[in-house]
Structure formats: C-alpha cells, structure tokens
Subunit: 400 residues, 4 copies
C-alpha cells in the first residue's frame, strides 16, 4: 500500500537471531499493507560471523552485510539503525548510532542497567534536538487488543483504576535439563525473567492505564541454579568445555506495586509456569469497568462495562479484528485474526510515521529508562527483604 | 441415604444470616445423599431477637429456638454447636461450647485476632483430649474440584511446586454508594477482604499443596474510606442516625508469599474487582504439572500433565462430576454439576464422620490459628513498608 | 421461607430412581428458600418392591410408602401425584391421577407415543376444567440462564430469530461394553437419545424463542446394536439370562428444522459424544442479538448485543447469579452458583404457585404433546429418507 | 530460509482483491521462513483495469502487470498461474493455463458447477500426465491446529468416527442494509454461504477424518431477498443505477450428512450468525477420543483422550505452537501464535514442494470436484424437500 514513489528510508539491522527475524519480517511486510510516508529499504544486516550473517541476509531479505556494527553507522545509505542484539550491547550501539545521526529502534529492555539507560535517554534527548528519533521496542503495545484496551481506558470507560494484575508466564526452562543460554547469564542479559518478560508487562500496564508505577515490593527466585552447558558453547561467550554452567539470573520475579493513580497491583514474570507458553495476562479493574487480556488468545479483549444493568452485564469477548480496531483496517476481514509477528509490523508503521512527521515516536528511550527504573527497584526490593521501594517520578521526556 | 436407625446428633446453630442459611441447608440435606454414621437433628437455632429467630427457625428447619446462645450450650439434646456469628464472638462462644463438652463447627476466619485464635486452639486441644471435636469452616475445601486438586498434588502429578497464584475477586462494594455493614467495621469483622475472603485462598492453597506459608510481603488498601449508613442501622451495632460511617477495614489486600517447599506465590483478596462476582482463582505450577481453578466455573479443574509429549499436551478441562471424584458419587450423573451450597453439605459429612470415628476433623482450630497467623503477618507487613514477615512454623496439632 | 401456617399440599411420588431422587430433593428444599403458597408434605412414595421403596422413602424423606401406584390415587391426603416412572407408564398413571382429581407433575417425555400424549393432553384439558392442574417436567427451563435467555428474546433484544443450533451431547454409552438398560429398549423408553435428551432441546429452544417447530428433516442411528446384559437383569423386564441384549432405540438423532418465525435450525441428540457429559448447547442468532448457552457451564449465559458499536461488541459472559435473574434472589449472593438439582426446586415453586393461583402451569401436557409430535416427525422423517416432515400447528391449549 | 541459488518459479497471479492480497503475502513470505526447493518470483499480476492492476502490483509486490489473463499464460517467465478470480471464471482460466503447461493454484470453490469442475479435473488429470500440477486452495487445511487434528485421527487416537459437527459462522450480511456484491449473485458466485464458506467445512471435515461424505439432507434459506445496490456499481457487472438488487444466492445452508465410515454429521454455513465473525467450528467424536476446533481461537486444538481414566480426563486445550506441530518449527517460539494469513504461506510451501518433487499436490482438482459434488447434492436435496441425496464415491484421482 506504500506507493513506489515514496522517499526511501535505508535500514541497517544489527543482530539476526529471534528478534532479527521478527524485525525483518516487519520491515518487509509493512509497506505492503500500510501507506508508509517512507519506503523502508532493507539495506544492510550486521553480525559478527561473516558466513552466518551472509546466510541470514539471504534468508531475511537484506541487500548487504557487515561484520562490524560500526560500519553500519558510517554508511550514508542507512538512515535508521535497528538494534536486535543482547542487552549488554544496546547502550554502546544505540548511543553511537544516535551520535552518527541515525534514527534508532532498540529492542527491549533498553539496557541492562539504569546507568546505561540514563546515558541512552540522554543521548536520545540530544539527538531529538537535531531531529534524530529513537524508540524502544515494546512491540506488544502494537497488538490490536492492547491498543483497544488503552483506548477504552483513555475514553474513561474504566473510571478510576483500582486494580491491576499482570503476569507473563512461560515455561521454556521449567525442565532443569534445559541447557544454559546467554539469556541465563547476568553479564549478557542483565536479568532473567524480570528483564526479558517482566519488562513487557510493566510497559503494557503503564501503557494501558496511562499511569506509572510509584513503588514496588518484590521477591525473586532462581529455582534451578546450574544447568548443562549446550553441546555447542558458541552462543555462550565466556564459557567453555562440558559440564554445568551457573544460572546467574532470576527464574521468576513477583512484585506488588502501586500505580500513580492509587491502584494496587500484582506482577509476576516467570519461565517456570508449566503449560503456559506465552501467557501475557493483564487485568485492570476500575470504578466503571474492567478489562482482561491473555496473549494466548491474542485477538481477544475482554471488557466488562459496569454501567450496564446487572441483569445483562458480563465480560464481553471482543474479537479485535474489526476495521474500527487499532491497525486492523489494513489487514483482513473481521474474524481473520493476526499473529505474533504483526506487532512488529505495526511498530515499523508507527516508527516510520513519526520519523516522517518529525515527531518523537513512543515508547521513547525515556520510557525505556523508566521501565528500567522499575526493574531496578524490583531488584533492590528483592535484595532488601521485599521492603517497599519507591520509583522516582517519570522524566519530562517521557512521551506517554 | 442415612438409615433411620442411626444414632442422633443434636445440633444447635448460633446465627441465622447468610452462613446460618447455608449451614442449615447442609444439615438438612446431607443425610439424604450420604450414609452418615450419625443422623443430624436440627434441634435449636439461636439468635438475639426472639421474633427474627422464630421466623428463621421455621424457614430453615430448626425445631426450637433460643435467644441466648449460652442456653444452647446447656441443653442436653445438643451434641454439636455450629457457630455462624460474626468473627468477634467466635472465641467466646466456641470456647464455652467446647468446655461444655459440645463438638464445635466454627465459621471462618477462626477469630479476629491471633490471641483469640490461640485461645481457641488451646481449648480445642483440651477438648480433643476428652473426645470433644472441633472444626473450622473452610468449606471451599469441599468443592469436588478442590479435592481433586489436592489429590493430584498428593499423587505427585505436579512434582515439586514452584508457583502459586491465588486471587479471591469480588466486586460487591466497588460502588462507593454501597452502604456500610458490619463486614466493614474492624471491631466486628476483624479485617475486610483479607479475613473474609483472603483467608479462604490461604487455606485452599495450603490444603491443595500440602505446604504452609512461611512468610509474606503485603500491601493493603481501603479505596472508599466512608460510606453511607444503611437506612436501618439495625445491622450495625454502635452506629446510629443517618450520614456516613467510617470503613475501618481493608477493601483489598495483596501479598507475596513463600511456601514451605520453596514455591513463590502471589495472593490477592479484593471486593473491588468489578465484574468478578466470586472469582476464587488458584493456579499451581509444579515441575511435572500444573493446575488451575476458578470458582466462577466451579465444577471444572484444569490440569496440565507435563509428562505428555509436547505435541498433545495442554490444560485439560476436567469436569469434576464423575463418581471417581471427591463427594460426587453421592449426587447426580456425570455432567450434572453441583452448586455453591454443596460444599457445606460435604463439610457436614466430613465432620459427622470424624466425630463418629472419634477422630479430629480437618481443618482443625489449629489450622484456623495457622491461617490467622498468616493474616496477622500480612497486616504487620503492610503496616511496615511491606517488609518480609516470617510466619512461625505450624503447630503440631495441625491436622494436615 | 414458606411460613408454617400455609395450607398443606400432600404429595405422592411414583418412582424412586434418578428422577425420584431429584424430585424429592426439590420437594424438600423449595419451602426453605421460597415463600410457597402451599406447604408440600412429602406424604407417600410408591414403588413396586416393598423393601426397596421403604429404603428409598427413608433416604428421600417420604412419610409413607405404597407398592401399588393406584393406592396413591385413592388417598385423601394426597393432592398431587408426581410421576417419575419410565415413559411407558406415564399415560396410564397420569390419566388415572387426573381423573382421581389429583394435580399431576409428569416427567418428560410426556409419553412414548403421540397417541398416548394426545390422551394425556385431553385428560389434562378435562381436568383443568375441574380445577385440576398438570405439568410436564421439562426442568431445564428452570435453569436461571435459560429463564434469562427467554426474557431477553421476549424483550426483543434478539430481534427476528434467524438461526437456532441446539445439541444435547452425552457420552455414557459411547463404550460398546456399557451394558443394556431399560433406556435402550424401545418398549420401555419409547426412543433413545431422541426422547430422553432430544426432547429437552426441542422444548428449550421453543421456550426460549417463543416459537414452535414447523417441520423437520432427520437422520437417526444406532451405532452399537447389541450390548451385554447387566449382571442383574432386574432393571430389564423381558430379558433373562446372560449374553447380549438388542438395543432397539436410537443412539443418536440429528435433524434440521424450521421455526414458526422462519428461523433455520440444526438439532442433535447423542449419547456418543465422547468427552461431553451433559452438554446442552443452545445458540440463537437474531437480527439484533445472539445468545449461547452450554449446561456444562450452567450458571452462564452468553449474550451478543448487536446494537453495540462494532468496536466494543462481543459475546458477554453473564454470570446468571444476580438477584435480578430468574429464581436467583432466593438463593446465595452473586457468583455463588447453583447446580443441576436447583431446576427441580424451581419447578416445584412454579407448579405450586400455579396450583394456588388456580392457573394452568407451564409447560402443560399440551406442550408435552407438541414436543411429542416433533419427536414423532423426526422418527417419520428418518424412516422416509430424511424427507421434510411438517409438524401440525400447536394446539390451542398450549400455554406458551 | 530458501537459499538464493534455488531455481526460480515464475508466478502469475490473476486477480488482486481479498484473495489476491492474501496469496501475494504468502508468495512473498514463504521463502523467508521455509527452505523451498524453488524460489517464487512474483512475476506478473493480471487484472482487467490497467490503473488498478498497476496500483495493486506496486502494493502487493509484483514485478509486472497484464490486463488480459490470457497474456499471462503466454509468458515464458511464468511457470505457475494462481487463479484468484470469482468462481465463474475459474474453469476457463485454469483449464487454459493447464493446457498452456502452467502449474495452477485455483481458489475455492473449484468452480460454480459440477460440470465445470469435472472439466477442470479432467484437464488436471491430462496435465498431470505431462508433469503439470494443480491444486485447489482450501487453505484452512494449512492451519497448524487442523493439521494436528488430521494427524491425531490418522494415528487412531479417535478410534472409529461417530459424529462430526461442523459450522462456518459469519455475520457480515446479517444487517439487511448491507449492500449487494458479486458474492450475492448466483451468476458470479455460484452459490452463497454454501460455496463460499460451506465448501471449507466440507473439505476440512473430510480432510481431518480421512473419510468422504456419502449423502446429505439439506435446507437452504435466503433471509434477505433484496439489498441496496452499492454506491459504485463497479463491483457488480450487469447491474446499473440506484435502487435494490436481487440476492440470488443462499444466506444460509444447513445439512445432515453421513461419512463413508458411518459417522453422522450436521453442517451449517451462514452469514447471519450475529456476533460470529469467522467461526469455523469442527467437532469430531470417535470411539476413543474427540476433537474440537474453532477458528476464532485458531492456534488451539481441543483433544479429549478417551483412554485416560475418567478422574483425569477432559478436553485439553493444546496450544498448537510447538515445533512438533505442523509448519510451526519455521516460525516463532511456543506460544507466539500465527494468524489467518499463515495458512496461505503454508499452501505455497506445500505446492512448491510437490511441484519440485514431481508429485501431485493436495487437495487436487479431483478433490475440489468431489467437494463440488457435495455442494451440488446439498442444493438438490434442498430443492427436493430435503430428501436424502447420495453423493457418488470419490474419483480415483482424489489425492487424500
């Protein structure tokens, strides 16, 4: 749907694993369904291993490759850098890209520490002053049901928010025999379930409610403290040989929280909820209405309208596939649901649109920093007998 | 199904509001469906107001009435006293009844304070030595799906328990215009959502897992701090006239917890979850399997068997209406579900059976005390910046 | 709730198997929860075997017994006869009872043939002229969610009805090794799944829509044509010894139908839907709204309001436990669901109320006859290459 | 994932409406996720209007355009013709393409009449002898949950099939004010709900069970017999001006059926099921197990294993997103669901693989013909008082 005469936006992607594949599909697909003001050009893919990046570029649809991400930043044909590497490299790459005048899309969590995230947010603010844009990749915001949830809250249909219950439930390492990976190393991943998936529900609940978390009380746990090293240690820098590796991140994090409007919340992030595969569950109860979402049924939003007479009130199962719903008009007829990857496509749409409009896209690096501060407060509370740990008010740069 | 020649157990019921009606239906119904070793005789109903208790006795099926509960304890034709009064009177009545040699069934929560509950548990221990039995009324244990849940855990089908998430969600005072009642006064009710409904999920999760809570971190909230007094102040002792009354209990309590086997848990009890009417939700994730229950679909237990091959694994919706399921063989054919009140009938069955066998029924007053200690720890943690608050190990008298 | 000074209605129950037990629980329970104009007196239970009826009377709460149902009709202390025998005896007993001036409640299906049902409806009409009332026991009408469904249709919330899909799914004889029973013999049962459970969905869909079926096209099947005789042949008259018995009724019946308002329908009744225990599923689509019900979640009615904007429209899951819902105010707080047996209690309420008001209760024998005519048309269509088979218009005596 | 050195398969697509867009997305996407033996080249898009086809080609990713489909067949750079036009043109285009030596993918239903479908199947047989392949586009077969359903049946996990209940429920013309379109004209569309959506559930149930339909008894209805002409009559050949147009197809079709193994079935296809958006519901009950699917929750298959002990048996909700599931390994981690369009991508995979292997892809034109015969029998039965109408046994060319 993007006309061929639209100006081009050259994209350089750093990283080609799971997230790299998802982002590539989004860059490829968005212009076919949406009328983008700029036509993405999948110009260059960067990865450390020349053979592997070449293979990936062919598979994922990128025109050229680089083995040093710094070369991507030097290219005149690249206008935007998309950072899909592990969290320990986000700050360095993203800041350098912004300083090189490239727009940046950075995967979540923004960084592995508050200090890094602060540096990134500062770099983003400086860049924005020069018209260079940045966004952090909380893609689940772009699921139509989540967009509808936010809209209903913004319209006042929930009234005052009183309760939030949020859980991100996976089970992929519930088996103690599941092998080590970089996601289980604190050096690489920053944290475990907390940063990887807990960050999503922190962002989503703040996005839906339009409020921020003001404090937490937390508990973290590593159920399985060592795991077999993978047959090929290639994916684990710093480890060698056979035997067992130390899990240095949390398997699960649970926390209580307050929202800025006074709501009381429970949060849970775990990779040990056997049988739950990607269960992002969010419920919000307000004085006028309630919402419930579960990613395992991602095209549905449940909504309770408390203004209905009790005789006919009930949670209604809205199939979020109508043209009236966020992003949906570009796709298929009602009832023909979308999948996981569509959130990434919508992310491209929103990012490219903001860039063309010379506006700051959301969620900004400042938003990513704020989520990082929540994660940090969770870790500090868990380390201090779960004591209540306030979270500093949001930065003025926060976009929503 | 109870033969007419069975010995009689004279029952005296104190209180005739919601719980009194539920208990009466149970006492009336149990012998028709179960072969009880003792035939309950609904002998006497006690209430303070002579007219109202007379009306209730006729309605609920009790032979005689008393206006002073002490008279019930003096009657030779009463072998068991069933305490269905507000929590502030439990200790006095139950202890006196036990000392009078009457078996006691006491509604939950056992008492309004740990001190009271301790006195009750001590009285129960003394009475048990004389063959006088006592039980606390955590009836939801008697829902067949809950009994099945416990059985599956006990059989090892969940393996090691890693996560519990429990919530008891109601919404009956979500509207700030809902009037005051004794349940909102700390003097009468001890606490709000915490003791009234939170106590149930504490008991249920301990019952299902066979483990106890070892510590909590909590947050409590009263969203609506004053409410209109009811038109008739009759139900509110100590308040008079029109205008507003102070809500002195929690509207909601949330807490993190650990179980004795190391599991990490979140708990929530609220009367402000708009649209949730009696949502008792319990999920348990173990190393081998998982369970999920919601009282809003009370005849169903969901079970995930992690030993199934991934291709065919999934949460199975067990309709807990088979003769193989707890209590069910006495009722209807498969698929013909039970309702809320059946838990009370099953409670009568278990209680009468234990009395006849000269065994201590479960849950004992010691169990009730242990739940009280959890509630107390929740309150103390909430009052101390949510700091982690350990719970003393269970008493030896604890029955399960 | 029925005051003790209300006039008594002496009840005589014929039959004490599954239905006898359910009716007994209803007669016992109704006056405790509802303010009945007449107080039921469980006077006499009739059964052929003296020992068994004596045991049943004790268990089910009946004062006296008879071994000949005719004796029940002669008793001055019996004002109402409740017929819970197999279908082949309904006509004889019910007609005799009506002629003896007794009100009659007769289990469904009304009879095993149209001719019998016609005779019964005629007897009922004659009796009604003398103030003697009769009702056929389509108890599922009394499930609150079904009552609400009818109310929503009557209020016009569905607009013009276009589709009905109804299925009654059980699986209790899916196993070919399940033994013979009288329910599998045409002589006793009249038909198989069709009359036993199909009759219910015919009645329910007509009740909900307020329309009648005008024609059908049908297919019937007996998957397992012979089955092992039961260890004790007691329950099977006419069969003797060991070995196999012939199944002479349908295992499953499916049919297409039209309703009087033009709606198109599919119906299914089967005892071979493995995994479905008592799945009474009814969906109705109208020009303005839709409904869906499944007895496996019996406290819920799903309602789609087509007048809502598409953005927020969805099937809402109404938990039918509010005081505003049919029958519910007499029971428990919202969210505390009812069970299978409550429909029978509500049936007693409606029947006794109608008798006291000197009105004809619904569903009448004429209604039962009309259902019988539908079943007969189904059998005739199935026997004639599924050809469309019209159903005569309803009789003027039909009550709704 | 398709290496760049794979041989090219030039594709010509005829039609660029809804189906054209879905097929284009599939042709573009398949090689990025699957290792195809041939690399699709989106060579040419054909449409009658030069401007519109040019716009569509840009939007959908096609290199060149034609305004006469015959020109596509003449091109040496086209090896496969993909037919996405209305049903009245399928036969002419597909036969010509096969005769021109082009492989053909033809949207369903194969044709608007049995005669046309026979001619197409004959042409396909002749072409196959020359190594030219053809396939009809029943894409819902490629939903992973459907593939798993077929696998479970094929493994014998359902035992002998006894019941099938299938419905395809939409509501997009439930409003009488919805305008005319070619889909409501018999000339263009052949039939209404029957051919458009009923064809899918006929194919799916035959595919899952591995059996064919042997006869039907049917009822068809057009609820709204005339509709407003659209503002622009462009999409409606043969109609002009304002006012109302005649609906000449069915709004709904319901039928009973038998499968070749003896199972009894109900089918429904309607566009008037208010609130159901794309509800493809299929249930299968066998002697050993049961299955249930609803496209409104498309990543889930429910499976009841009747060999489980009753205590733990229940329909399990399999989230069909594991690498073990059909097609899934190429996509995302477990729990990250797919959407509607993925079925088209899988169709491309299966088609291209068969072509490269020199095998006949499934479903073949003979399979499409067999579905056409079922639809024809439905129409004949509906026109003949619903009388049972046998369906000729399948052709030897049928591929599965």
């Amino acid at each position: 749907m993007t006309p061929p005469d639209r100006p081009t936006l050259g994209v350089g992607l750093i990283g080609h694993a799971f997230m790299g594949a998802a982002h590539s599909q989004a860059w490829r697909t968005a212009p076919h369904f949406f009328d983008l003001p700029l036509r993405p050009d999948l110009r260059v893919l960067a990865g450390r291993d020349a053979d592997r990046v070449a293979e990936a570029a062919g598979r994922l649809g990128w025109a050229e490759t680089e083995t040093d991400w710094r070369r991507v930043l030097e290219r005149a044909d690249v206008g935007l850098v998309d950072v899909c590497t592990p969290g320990d490299t986000h700050a360095e790459i993203a800041i350098a890209a912004l300083e090189a005048g490239k727009h940046v899309l950075c995967e979540k969590p923004l960084a592995n520490s508050v200090a890094e995230a602060e540096a990134m947010a500062e770099a983003a603010a400086r860049a924005a002053a020069r018209g260079v844009r940045s966004m952090v990749g909380f893609t689940y915001r772009r699921v139509p049901a989540i967009g509808l949830a936010r809209r209903l809250v913004a319209e006042g249909r929930l009234g005052r928010i009183r309760h939030v219950r949020a859980a991100y439930l996976q089970d992929w390492i519930a088996d103690p025999a599941a092998p080590m990976s970089w996601r289980l190393e604190k050096d690489k991943a920053g944290s475990g379930a907390l940063g990887d998936i807990g960050a999503h529900v922190v962002d989503l609940t703040q996005y839906i409610t339009g409020e921020t978390l003001t404090g937490v009380s937390a508990l973290m746990e590593t159920f399985v403290k060592e795991r077999p090293l993978p047959a090929s240690a290639g994916s684990l820098s710093g480890t060698a040989g056979e035997g067992m590796g130390q899990v240095t991140v949390d398997d699960a994090a649970v926390f209580l929280a307050r929202f800025s409007g006074g709501a009381v919340a429970t949060f849970e992030a775990t990779r040990f909820a056997l049988g739950r595969k990607n269960g992002i569950r969010i419920e919000v109860n307000g004085s006028e209405g309630s919402l419930a979402f579960d990613f395992e049924d991602m095209n549905v939003l449940e909504f309770f309208d408390g203004t209905e007479p009790a005789e006919r009130a009930g949670f209604r199962r809205i199939i979020v596939t109508e043209p009236e719903h966020p992003y949906v008009a570009a796709w298929w007829p009602a009832g023909h649901g979308l999948g996981y990857e569509h959130g990434f496509t919508h992310q491209v749409v929103d990012l490219v649109t903001a860039i063309a409009k010379d506006e700051d896209p959301a969620p900004s690096f400042a938003d990513g920093l704020q989520v990082q501060r929540v994660l940090d407060a969770v870790e500090r509370s868990a380390a201090a007998d779960s004591v209540w740990t306030p979270i500093a008010a949001q930065d003025p740069e926060r976009t929503d």
